[in-house]
């Protein structure tokens, strides 16, 4: 039953010899993600007014912020990449980059013992805002 002169098979083998591979040579060749892909959340502390909407609306509770402390932090490893915070931010401080989050290891603990993937920012108050006589 096995025919050594199996012509369709011979044709296919010859075609495979000269054609390009069907796979990509990852990690040397990485396909860039498409525009609009949901990757990592990026934050610009300069424009943030600490309205706390992003922290309230985050489904995974990955964002913590404080209006009084002028402090904003995100746990990148808790973030599910849904993009709700980007949508609700009125100031455009949050944006979604297409690149996936970097890999974190257990050793990446923050200086105050924060979890790997913890990113925080503080925005110093302007001089005019500091109450006098404090």
């Amino acid at each position: 039953m096995a025919n050594p002169l199996n012509l369709p098979m011979v044709g296919r083998s010859l075609r495979n010899l000269v054609s390009r591979p069907a796979t990509r040579r990852y990690p040397t060749e990485i396909r860039p993600r498409f525009a609009g892909a949901r990757g990592t959340i990026e934050f610009d502390v300069e424009t943030c007014n600490f309205c706390m909407l992003c922290a309230r609306r985050c489904p995974a509770a990955a964002i913590t912020a404080s209006r009084e402390e002028r402090y904003w932090a995100i746990e990148q490893l808790t973030c599910i990449g849904c993009g709700v915070c980007v949508d609700v931010c009125n100031k455009g401080s949050l944006s979604m980059s297409v690149n996936s989050r970097t890999v974190h290891t257990h050793a990446d603990v923050g200086p105050q013992g924060q979890r790997p993937g913890h990113e925080e920012w503080r925005k110093p108050a302007l001089a005019a805002e500091v109450p006098s006589g404090s």
């Binding site: 706390m52 922290a55 609306r57 509770a61 964002i63 913590t64 404080s66 402390e69 402090y71």
Partner: protein
């Protein structure tokens, strides 16, 4: 619940060619009404035939026996094991008894009224605004806004 009438109704559905679509229990918390100091369970049996869906609804008190419908619908054992394991409903006559090892939950009966109450208290559900966004950094006398 009147077991004989209930089982007869279920058998009617089976004879008429309906398919068992769902057996679901919902916990009713204690104090929701008369005679419900221990809470109760609202159980729904849903039957489907073609594009139609009909349900039988019964209220089961904790400790009440709930008869299995495996006599009419053999596929009911999975739903009934889940109800016994997650809700603590006393199901009698199970088709295939998975002996409480179906889900292997950490809390023994996670949807019992007492377990739900304990979780809601731990979440402090009276103050939903405090769930999200409270500062993680040390802050003096932080108010729950």
């Amino acid at each position: 619940m009147d077991k004989t009438t209930f089982l007869a109704r279920v058998e009617e559905y089976h004879e008429a060619g309906w398919r068992l679509a769902l057996i679901n229990a919902t916990t009713i918390m204690p104090g929701a009404g008369e005679g419900m100091e221990q809470g109760a369970f609202d159980v729904a049996w849903a039957f489907a035939r073609g594009t139609e869906l009909e349900t039988i609804r019964e209220r089961i008190m904790p400790g009440d026996e709930m008869p299995s419908i495996s006599g009419s619908f053999g596929a009911a054992f999975l739903y009934e094991n889940e109800m016994r394991e997650l809700f603590g409903i006393n199901v009698t006559g199970l088709g295939l008894d998975l002996k409480g090892q179906m889900y292997k939950t950490a809390t023994r009966i996670p949807f019992a009224p007492s377990a739900i109450r304990a979780r809601l208290e731990a979440l402090g559900r009276a103050e939903p605004a405090a769930r999200h966004g409270a500062a993680a950094a040390p802050a003096p006398a932080e108010k729950t806004a």
